[in-house]
């Protein structure tokens, strides 16, 4: 059965379709793997019955000769930011602990409709706020990777989609959903040696996804190959009338359009991404990446994204501002936690509920957001940040005159030990310095594994593309994947 858990999305789907194994066998294998990996703390709740139910349906459909969906027979992990009908949805928070929605997010529904099954709800940073998965109310996720010579020290799987990255890297799920607001798919993918793509803003519906920062939040797949990401993104994406910001465009068949031949394509190398504090190994992987893409036929060109250094500060104004408002609904009145001290009035109830229900990082961002939107500070912070955002987006627009995709590191460092940065929020925020510009611009970006560093930890390379050109991003990713030959996988210690 261990063999089955080594398979990816396409292999499982095709194997089920060809009758090499049943969907039920696959689901059982992953259910067992999930159960055995509780030490990783990747799942907040496991839903083995859901996985089996979906698998049985696929097996029955196949037996009946019915057409099978793009994800038929593939059990996946669902980040616990997606509302799932009848299954607790917490955003890894105490305030939503025990909350069971009576509705299904559009993206998860799309996946079930395509034949996927649910292994469980994956751990994450609380309300997707964090870069190490240490802000979860349900405890941090432990990366399956360990530093060579680092003993048993737990490493961060990245965040906020840390449960997703850990589960996929540990092969307890062939793929998982992630969401990316300022790097929350790409950074954990890079930390754990897997692939993850944040599509163009609006590709995946936000309906039913617990909101962090609405203008930035975007769902995407995390899997162990570029091809698997292409298949799964195709199943997730699509116009949704229930989300006003949803893109009213057809979803191309990205999987069918995959090609690693980059002849005639130009790859931009942004000089501003060469920052102080970036690991040597990261810079080395970047150089390798250029070589691989050149080898695939692409022309490498230097480009400038002059406002890059302002992106992170602008992000840490805009995202908290939106979050401070988006999280106002968690007030103890209608659902979730309610703390009503003896004799308390309405305001006391709000204060007590939110004091108890939110973790420190969430409170920090709600406070920052409240501050930057306050009368007297709005122009200096929020408005200014919006202007920076427009300039960052313009940087990319101008760059497209010179190149088709951009190659950059995903993160400035490899994964770090758990607890290393928990006392230094700014150091933690810097993790997303390379990821945030694409979020602000709303353009597609993905991380693919490049190599291991000297300590045996994975490093990722980031490809950023033009709006709506997920295909260009995936193709460049495929070219890297084929040449990097990243086969490393973490030793099973759990």
């Amino acid at each position: 059965m261990t063999e089955l858990t080594n398979l990816g999305v396409r292999e499982i789907r095709d194997g089920v379709a060809q009758g090499d194994f049943t969907a039920r066998e696959v689901a059982e294998a992953f259910n067992a793997a999930v159960e055995a990996a509780s030490e990783l703390n990747a799942f907040i709740v496991a839903t083995p019955d859901k996985a089996l139910e979906a698998a049985d349906k696929v097996d029955a459909d196949r037996a009946a000769g019915r057409e099978l969906g793009a994800m038929a027979g593939v059990p996946i992990g669902m980040k616990d930011l997606f509302c799932t009908d009848g299954v607790q949805t917490t955003a890894a928070s105490h305030i939503l602990e025990g909350f069971v929605p009576r509705y299904e997010s559009t993206v998860s529904q799309n996946l079930w409709d395509a034949g996927a099954g649910m292994l469980g709800k994956l751990n994450l940073d609380q309300f997707a706020m964090g870069s190490s998965n240490e802000t979860s109310h349900f405890g941090n996720v432990v990366s399956p990777w360990r530093k060579s010579g680092g003993g048993n020290a737990g490493m961060s799987p990245g965040g906020s989609s840390g449960g997703s990255s850990a589960a996929v890297a540990a092969r307890i799920a062939p793929a998982a959903t992630g969401t990316d607001t300022g790097g929350s798919i790409r950074q954990p993918a890079a930390f754990t040696g897997i692939c993850g793509i944040k599509p163009t803003y609006g590709r995946c519906s936000r309906w039913g996804v617990v909101a962090f920062a609405s203008s930035l939040d975007q769902a995407g797949p995390m899997a162990r190959s570029v091809g698997d990401c292409a298949i799964m993104l195709g199943a997730m994406a699509g116009f949704d009338a229930k989300d006003s910001t949803s893109l009213q465009m057809d979803v191309p068949d990205w999987a069918a359009g995959l090609s690693a031949d980059l002849k005639g394509r130009k790859v931009g190398i942004p000089r501003e991404y060469r920052m102080d504090g970036t690991d040597e190994a990261i810079l080395e992987s970047w150089e390798q990446g250029k070589n691989w893409l050149r080898d695939a036929g692409a022309e490498i060109v230097d480009i400038s994204l002059p406002h890059t250094k302002y992106a992170l500060p602008a992000y840490y104004i805009i995202a908290p501002a939106e979050a401070s408002s988006n999280l106002a609904r968690y007030d103890g009145v209608r659902y979730g936690l309610r703390d009503l001290p003896e004799g308390a009035g309405l305001q006391d109830m709000y204060a007590a509920t939110r004091e108890e229900g939110f973790g420190d990082e969430v409170k920090r961002r709600v406070l920052i957001g409240t501050y930057v939107l306050s009368a007297g500070f709005y122009d200096a912070y929020y408005n200014q940040a919006q202007k920076v955002r427009a300039l960052v987006a313009r940087d990319f627009e101008r760059a497209w005159a010179d190149c088709d995709v951009i190659l950059a590191p995903t993160t400035p460092t490899a994964s770090f030990p758990l607890g290393d940065k928990t006392d230094d929020p700014l150091a933690m925020y810097l993790n997303d310095v390379f990821a945030v510009p694409a979020s602000l611009a709303g353009v597609p970006a993905m991380s693919v594994p490049a190599m291991l560093n000297g300590e045996g930890l994975p490093l990722g390379l980031q490809i950023v593309g033009k709006p709506f050109d997920e295909q260009g991003v995936l193709n460049a990713g495929l070219a890297i994947e084929q040449r990097a030959g990243f086969e490393a996988k973490p030793e099973t210690w759990w």
Binding site: F82, C83, T89, A91, L96, F99, P101, Y103, S105, R206, W207, G208, V209, V210, A211, A213, S214, S215, A241, K242, D243, S244, T245, A321, E322, S324, S325, L327, A328, R329, D331, V333, R334, Y335, L346, Q347, Y350, T370, L373, S374, A375, Y378, Y382
Partner: protein
Amino acid sequence: MSDYRIQGATGEWEVVIGLEVHAQVTSNAKLFSGASTAFGAEPNTQVSLVDAAMPGMLPVPNRECIRQAVRTGMAIEAQINKYSRFDRKNYFYADLPQGYQISQLYHPIVGEGQLTIEADEKAGIPEDKVIGIERIHVEQDAGKLMHDQHPTMSYVDLNRCGVALMEIVSRPDMRSPAEAGAYVRKLRTILRYVGSCDGNMEEGSMRADVNVSVRRPGPISDENPFGTRTETKNVNSVRFVMQVIEHEANRQVDLIEDGGTVVQETRLFDPNSGTTRSMRSKEDAHDYRYFPDPDLLPLELEDSFLDECRASLPELPDAKRARYIDELGLSDYNASVLTAEVETFARFETLLAETAKRLGKDEKTVATQVANWSLSVAPGVMKSLGDEADPSHATAEAQAEILRMQDAGEISGGQAKEIYEIVLRTGRDPAEIADTEGLKQQSDTGAIEAVIDEVLAANADKVEEYRGGKDKLFGFFVGQTMKAMQGKANPAVVNQVLKAKLG
């Protein structure tokens, strides 16, 4: 210019009034969700996941609400902003599930417009006056808290939560309670013409925030600027709006003359005492942290949409009133009354068309007759019958037939009323009533002549006197003739025959 003044101990004061009217948009569904907006449903039965602000729920603008706001803007001759945007107004309250109200602060959908209130000497409005309207924006209504359902807890009803409102913000152009009252009434009339709000103030479909300040009369200048204003929230009738202004203006004058200063604050109106009291001062005012709603794209209106909105506008009150005066020849008064309410003009126009058809005359010729019937005769009969009248019998056909018989001299004015009474009670056909109830007047010259001959013979002395020059006796002969014919003689024929006989 209004000469409304508050007489203070230190002299005269002018009142300055601006109104923010919240009008519920007529629409089956809420502004950002598909939930119903019907009034009076069981608590919390008209609440969607979006209205309850469940996690992950998103607003989607309701096109009909946008359309109604645009049409309203066009009806007040306002600039329509092809680009507008929704902003979040953030505050915590139990009737506000999202923790913010979606509104439009920075880029409202409707810009500068205006409406005209009509001269009303009795109310102290000597001439027509144009009141500026600064903007109209659309926003969500909140839910309702109920404090009287449980000894220690408050209940929340979210049925109203998310219903679309238009906030119509006037310029501080009004100078008396009467002007403010006229403004609200006129605005209500326009909204009801357009069909964008039912104007039902009792059900809360329209309510006003009343801004009042006082200053010394004279032009606005650096030396004599606007005074500090107070805002009295949620006033829900025209009468209350006028009461608030009167009370607030006098309170402010007293305060200033006693050496105090007016504080910019929000106040509440108590309809029982007719007074206002402080709700919160500017210092405790919320910081609403407005910012563009990131769940919603800017609203960009296309020309075809605007064209459709414009084409769908009905004839508006001012135009209709002018047409009634200029083309139908109605008096100013009749034109004003007939155009004040949608139901009134609708009934009038139907009856006018039907009457013109039956008389074979054009509308202008019969307009005054129909207006008098509609405004005085018909309502009089209806009122005198009270509960006995069935308004469903008041069809245009029946009324037009009565008017036709009257016009043809078949019935008298008195008979018309009597017939209409029976119509309202029973729904019977007017012509049939006239026949079977003997409610027809005698126009047969021969029959009338015979009666007149008898009358003249019986009053030979009076005939003598009349011929001797006592003209006034003509009325006496008419009276005697009518009496002899139980009032059923056609007066015109009686007059004509009498004149001939008395020669």
